[in-house]
Amino acid sequence: MEIYVLVKQVPDPEAIVKVKSDLELEIENKYFTSFFDEIAVEAGLKLKEKFGGRVTVLTVDNRRVDALRRGISMGADDAVQIADAALEGSDQFAIARTLSAYLKDKPFDLILTGRQAMDDDAGIVGPAVAECLGIPHVHSIIGFEVDDQKREAKVIREVENGRETLTCPLPALLTCQKGLNKPRIPLVMNVMKAMKAQIKKIDLASLGLGQSDMSPYIKIEKYVPPPKRPPVKMIKEDFPENVRVLVKLLREEAKVI
């Protein structure tokens, strides 16, 4: 089974991210592999263990290849970085076109990725890649098994009022949600090996793409700080008076009940 996993290195949830100017952020230098992408790598490795084949991790990033090294340390066979000056500032749709240009003539059975990257929280790239490649996708899966003979995946996805089970023919793209599995912690030895692993680097020209293919569909016009909550009003009365005060405030001041 040929499996490709789309991964991204992103600021750690603990990292400080602040607005520096309208179009610039200040991001603390604390990065990790987007958690949902690690779940996707784990899902790919489990399939490889069952059916054999190869797992390739793939990223579009001009600077960071740590997510690829993380994938290799977990057990991925190959790592590919797509990097190009023309990718600077591109939107999620351009990234999806780029990934699809690389994947379109590869013999993939499954493409896996996280349900969203933990920086832009967009969740666009996965479904958009599936559209470019003309293959089915299922977003935010929490369970799946593959029937190699029938060339079909059976997946569970969470919807608002329950869980839905779908069948989906291969090749397909699945975006992975917490609950699907627990990503393995790589052995130190494998982390060391991954530091030295060869990473294939590919530019846009070799994919037949150029600057004109990168024109964005969406653009950040302006960064703004999050809305600030007024300082907390601590209710200092003793029990049970504090409970009565709270109910009164919720009804008469906040007017939410």
């Binding site: 969740g123 479904p127 958009a128 919807v159 569909y217 703004v224 907390v232 919720l250 906040a254």
Partner: protein, 330 residues
């Protein structure tokens, strides 16, 4: 080319979701500025009740009736919506930031080669009449105002409670029946099972009121107190990553960075210390109440009202007090 604002009407068990009425109310607000009409897309089968409930909120309802729309798959929805969009060229397409919206919209946008801004918390129309979408990044540490390319229509999915439902609308939508574009050979995904979540509560992303407890509640069975409080308020019950990882609660109720972002009108946190992972999931809630034993808990920095006190005393007393207060209203 029409100039309408379109909203995709998601529905569940015959009932149109609240987010749809919120988006239509916003759409009608925008249309007052621009003179546009507001239209709803309603796909499914047996849609009379749903269409009726939408009538005061829109000028047109495009109805596509076909059994293959129920339950939702992008395979069935996408070609039908895409062809209708190509025919009418609406000025905007909006939908809820739901499991359906997040599955369909990015793929539809790529198909139409148009811009899409996901999971927005605000929308506005700029001086030039163009859509501007506001959305959180990095789990809500910063927000971005998004602009769209010239391609039609700019698309956005929007979180619950970003807009108020305007109950006073009195449009009377014309129902326009549209033949669906279904190619059976393209229906690749098949829904073969559905397991309804236990209880009748709304998902935490859809509920107006969410009450939650964290590890401070000490044991899984103590969630009974939180459930009782939720019942008194007609609220849904959320929780933290810690209790989910302990196996106390289901993942679907986890609030925060690796769980769900909620936008409730009222969020009440009990015994939740306020780890950044959790705080990121409640940033767009309107009113936040925190109750914790520890007066220095971080959660108080992110709350509107706080009580430092004994949860096991306060929660049941609060439930009783609320029951009394709400009963007096009836």
């Amino acid at each position: 080319m029409s100039n309408d604002i379109w909203v995709l009407a998601e529905h569940q068990e015959g009932k149109v979701k609240k987010i749809v009425f919120e988006l239509l109310s916003a759409g009608i607000d925008f249309s007052k500025k621009t003179g546009q009409e507001v239209a709803v897309l309603l796909l499914g089968s047996g849609l009379e009740e749903a269409a009726k409930s939408l009538t005061p909120f829109a000028d047109k309802i495009y109805v596509m009736d076909d059994p293959s729309f129920t339950p939702y798959t992008s395979d069935a929805y996408l070609p039908s919506i895409a062809s209708l969009i190509k025919e009418h060229q609406p000025s905007i397409l909006l939908g809820g930031a739901t499991s359906t919206g997040k599955d369909l919209f990015p793929r539809l946008a790529m198909h139409l080669q148009t811009g899409y801004s996901p999971d927005c918390t605000g929308l506005s129309i700029g001086e030039d009449g163009k859509l501007i979408a506001r959305r959180p990044l990095f789990g809500g540490k910063v927000f971005a105002e998004m602009a769209f390319s010239e391609a039609r229509p700019p698309m956005a999915t929007v979180r619950n409670n970003a807009f108020l439902v305007n109950e006073n609308l009195d449009r009377s939508a014309t129902v326009i029946s549209v033949p669906p574009h279904i190619d059976p050979s393209l229906l690749k995904k098949k829904v073969i099972g559905f397991e309804k979540a236990p209880g009748a509560k709304l998902d935490i992303t859809e509920a107006d009121i969410v009450v939650a407890a964290g590890r401070g509640i000490k044991a899984p069975e103590n969630f009974k107190m939180i459930e009782d409080l939720a019942d008194a308020l007609n609220a849904s019950v959320g929780t933290t990553r810690a209790t989910v990882d302990e196996g106390w609660r289901d993942l679907k109720d986890q609030i925060g960075k690796s769980g769900k972002n909620i936008s409730a009108k009222l969020y009440m946190a009990f015994g939740i210390s306020g780890a950044i992972h959790h705080i990121l999931g409640i940033g767009t809630c309107k009113t936040v109440v925190a109750v914790d034993n520890d007066p220095n808990a971080l959660i108080f920095n992110y709350a509107d009202y706080g009580i430092a006190g004994d949860l096991f005393q306060i929660i049941p007393a609060l439930t009783e007090e609320l029951k009394k207060a709400l009963a007096a209203d009836r």
